[in-house]
């Protein structure tokens, strides 16, 4: 397992000339391990698709290099790269049958007829397209078309499989089941994959690692857990899941790796990396709504007024005004918890380990 199977080094892509230049991808560095599935996640216009198109060869980097399995492919044309792509709208050839679509690349490669038939049939069985070989793409459902597109790319046994929002044209239910299928298939085949999406849930369920992009830059690379629990900056915290932001100050260093935080006059003891914060520094705190506890108002605590209370069945969502900061609180399983109404005064609390501290400047 090479740790540097796919390498993007200082990748930059600038569109336009003169006054109208636009930097779509700004100094992107990613290393993808062999067999790993990495997702590029970000809002539209963040540069994720451009990055993918540079890996596939449809865009040439303005500067920087792309290596696949140790080989520099930065300027190799797309038809000579060991990558294949699953397109957003599938891009199935409408004038060819399912079989001919899947066999297209093999034919170009001049495989023997017998070999093409065998390989294509095997892959059709793998993705569950048996019996549909002679259909035309127009006769297939959206999910089936998606599988043809996947089969057509997989059958080439590329070194890197690229997927450009492959589920965005499916309805919500099918999307959920298909993404699990894709993940299982990817792990079974063990194929190195780069997956582009703007859907964070998709990214979280599918990926070994997630690359969060914003305005052409990488905001954070990490496992889904790391990205959710320890966002590197305010953008990531806000983009992945819901987050409350609170301003605080490092009160004192309790020990080598424990600090006392001052949040709106209340003290919290939090474990940190040794030496990462200095006494008296201003910080931003990220608290996920599900980590906040609500109780009836108690003295000497952080208190606020419930502004809104929404019952969603599986959970209760509150908006609580704490000294003009609106804190969102999610309480799972409302049946087992006390329910508050708008206007009630409450105490909010959280455990030190569910606080994530961001340096003040990272948050802006």
């Amino acid at each position: 397992m090479r740790p540097d199977y796919l390498v993007l080094r200082s990748l930059v892509k600038v569109f336009g000339t003169g006054e109208n230049i636009f930097t779509a991808v700004d100094n992107v560095n990613i290393e993808v391990q062999e067999g790993e599935l990495v997702t590029l996640l970000g809002p539209s216009g963040c540069g994720k698709t451009t990055t993918l198109r540079m890996i596939s060869g449809f865009e040439i980097p303005t500067s920087g290099e792309i290596f696949i399995d140790g080989e520099d492919v930065s300027t190799t044309p797309p038809n000579q790269r060991p990558t294949t792509m699953v397109f957003q709208n599938y891009a199935l050839f409408p004038h060819l049958t399912v079989f001919e679509n899947i066999a297209y690349g093999l034919k170009i490669r001049r495989d023997s007829k017998e070999n093409i038939r065998k390989t294509a049939e095997k892959i059709m069985l793998l993705v569950g397209l048996e019996g549909l070989a002679e259909r035309s793409p127009a006769q297939l459902s959206g999910g089936q078309q998606q599988r043809v597109s996947l089969a057509r790319s997989l059958v080439m046994e590329p070194k890197v499989l690229l997927l450009d929002e492959p589920l965005s044209n499916l309805d919500a239910k099918l999307r959920v089941s298909t993404r699990l299928e894709i993940r299982k298939l990817q792990q079974r085949v063990g194929i190195t994959s780069v997956y582009v999406t703007h859907d964070q849930e998709e990214a979280m369920t599918l990926s070994d690692r997630v690359v969060i992009m914003h305005q052409g830059k990488i905001m954070q690379i990490g496992t889904p857990q790391a990205i959710y629990a320890k966002p590197a900056n305010r953008f990531v915290a806000d983009f992945i899941g819901k987050a409350n932001f609170l301003e605080g100050r490092i009160g004192s260093l309790a020990s080598r790796n424990e600090i006392v935080l001052d949040i709106m006059g209340q003290k919290f003891q939090v474990l940190v990396q040794p030496g990462s914060f200095s006494e008296g520094a201003r910080v931003f705190l990220v608290v996920r709504p599900e980590s906040v506890n609500l109780e009836p108002k108690k003295p000497d605590t952080l208190t606020g007024t419930v502004q809104e209370a929404v019952y969603l069945g599986s959970q209760m969502v509150y908006e609580v005004d704490v000294a003009k900061n609106i804190i969102t609180v999610e309480v799972a399983n409302p049946q087992e918890h006390m329910v508050f109404k708008a206007g009630e005064e409450v105490t909010i609390s959280f455990q030190g380990k569910s606080l994530h501290i961001l340096p003040y400047e990272e948050a802006h």
Binding site: I60, P78, N89
Partner: protein
């Protein structure tokens, strides 16, 4: 059906439209057919029995077919290369190339033949150079005709193929390339197969147009006899209505066959559907062996268009073409003196016919799309029919049908302004109907329902919602029918008279007398009038249709 009875006005208009379609579309065609079956006032099949034995039938038929096939092939290739260059390569000045390539569509077609004579004719400007290279040649005949028809109707192929290539999702080509295909392989296995129905469409349309064309062969065919010209000569020269009608039927059969193949077979085989917004085009990294020939072809064709129309300008200032090359404005003076009446008639009749064409076309489109009544499909079919019928056939039909009273229509129209006006209306109406249908289909009925739901009456909904939305299509239909009316020749030439005559006929007369300079001057005037009319309509659309796109000349 019950609804119809509740709207008597609607019922009356439907019946009226059917009556008009029968009189002005079907009846003339029937008369042509009937006349071809009558020899010496007797029913007689001899015309048809003689088709393959008599040279005066057989030769023009073969010639017209050859001309149609060659021009269609050349025009389609030209149109494809042009469309490919504009949709698939980063060629600079795309707008300029596109406008130049489509310019011949808005100019009277036979001016190309006129320019060809000025360039390559006996006294042509380029003739000495060319004969030095290829020896003696004559522009009159098949070779010259194919050249001229290709320039005149290649633009139609371009427009069809431009639409087709633009609708092919570039992601398909990217997918092929991604799977290892080279650019040439992508073209052969994806682009070309997907464009085949479009190519067939374009070919058939150019075939129909160049086979049915009258103006260019009239000027340039020489001894190469084609059906449209022969039919005209038989009727106006020999007064042989029966033989002329038979030639017209011979012309009608292949063109209408081609039309139906195009409309009902080729169109159905099309793969091209617009699949969401196309992603970025695959025009990065284009190999020189694609760029070089496509760019060269574009530049060459654009150069030819400029050469031909530039020649008209140059020629219009010469004292006597081929004899005295002193520059003069005399031709323009003479044109206004001699041609004043023609200009006024052309403007008056076209201006009269255009709004009627537009409103009638839009109304028929409205009936066909939004109302349900028996005979709806028939109405659409018949009203589109004139589009497929060569002008020569229509013209002969009109003189046969309206030079006497009949049980169906108790007026004699021959020699009046009405015969010209009705011919212009019914001949150009398909354009209005087509743009109307396209516009109405775009309007989601729920938009109108939303307006009604918010309290507007159906009358107010029509004025405030429907009308503004169909206005751009209506006006582009108007623009196109005005252009067609001003530049019409093939059908019109049969129904003009001493009292009512048109510019196009006058130009043809100048050409006939070898007064090429005057012909060129008048052609330019006609082009200028058409351009002015188009800009006025464009400005109107800009005022009325907020957010609507500009007038497209060709639907």
């Amino acid at each position: 059906m019950r609804l119809i009875w509740k709207e008597p006005l609607l019922l009356v208009s439907i019946i009226a439209i059917f009556y008009f379609l029968m009189i002005f579309v079907l009846f003339p065609l029937f008369m042509v057919f009937k006349t071809s079956l009558i020899v010496d006032k007797q029913f007689d099949l001899s015309n048809y029995l003689a088709i393959f034995s008599k040279k005066y039938y057989f030769q023009p038929f073969i010639n017209s077919m050859i001309l149609g096939v060659l021009a269609a092939t050349a025009g389609t290739i030209l149109g494809f290369v042009f469309a490919y260059a504009i949709t698939r390569t980063p060629i600079p000045f795309k707008r300029f190339f596109r406008m130049t390539a489509t310019f011949p569509i808005i100019s009277p077609p036979f001016v190309i033949a006129l320019a060809a004579i000025l360039l390559f004719g006996r006294a042509g400007s380029l003739t000495p150079f060319i004969s030095r290279i290829i020896g003696e040649y004559s522009i009159y005949g098949l070779g010259g005709l194919v050249l001229v028809e290709t320039i005149a109707y290649g633009p139609i192929a371009f427009l069809v193929l431009y639409g087709v290539l633009q609708a092919i999702d570039p992601a398909l080509e990217e997918a092929a390339m991604d799977l290892g295909a080279s650019r040439a392989r992508v073209f052969a296995t994806v682009t070309l197969p997907l464009a085949v129905p479009g190519i067939a469409s374009a070919w058939l349309l150019v075939f129909i147009e160049s086979m049915a064309d009258f103006g260019n062969p009239m000027v340039l065919s020489g001894n190469f006899r084609v059906l449209s010209v022969q039919a005209f000569l038989q009727i106006t020269g020999m007064y042989d209505l029966s033989r002329g009608s038979t030639l017209a039927i011979l012309l009608l059969v292949p063109t209408i066959t081609a039309f139906f193949i195009q409309k009902y077979w080729v169109a159905r085989k099309s793969y091209v559907t617009v699949t969401g917004q196309p992603t970025g085009a695959t025009i990065k990294r284009l190999e020189w062996y694609i760029k070089l020939p496509t760019y060269a072809a574009c530049i060459l064709f654009t150069g030819i268009v400029f050469l031909f129309y530039g020649m008209l300008i140059w020629g219009s200032f010469q004292t006597l073409w081929g004899v005295d090359a002193t520059l003069t404005l005399h031709n323009y003076v003479e044109m206004f003196q001699v041609g004043k009446d023609y200009i006024i008639d052309s403007l008056a009749l076209s201006t009269l016919a255009t709004p009627i064409t537009g409103i009638l076309g839009m109304f028929i489109a409205f009936l066909v799309i939004r109302k349900k009544f028996i005979g709806r499909a028939t109405m659409e079919f018949v009203s589109m029919l004139t589009f497929a019928v060569p002008g020569t056939v229509v013209g002969i039909g009109y003189i046969l049908a309206f030079n006497q009273r009949s049980a169906l229509f108790p007026f004699v129209l021959t020699g009046t302004a009405w015969i010209i006006t009705t011919l212009l209306i019914f001949r150009n109406m398909p354009v209005g109907i087509r743009s109307g249908i396209a516009a109405l289909q775009q309007i989601d009925p729920s938009i109108e329902e939303a307006s009604t739901d918010l309290g507007a009456s159906s009358n107010k909904t029509f004025r405030k919602i429907t009308l503004p939305m169909i206005a751009p299509a209506f006006f582009s239909g108007l623009a196109f029918s005005f252009v067609k009316a001003m530049t019409a020749i093939s059908a019109i030439i049969f129904v003009v008279s001493g009292r009512w005559n048109l510019i196009t006929v006058a130009i043809l007369g100048f050409v006939d007398n070898s007064q090429y300079a005057q012909a060129a001057a008048m052609s330019l005037l006609l082009i200028v009038i058409v351009l002015i009319a188009l800009s006025i309509i464009q400005i109107l659309v800009g005022r009325i249709g907020k957010g609507a796109r500009s007038v497209s000349i060709v639907n």
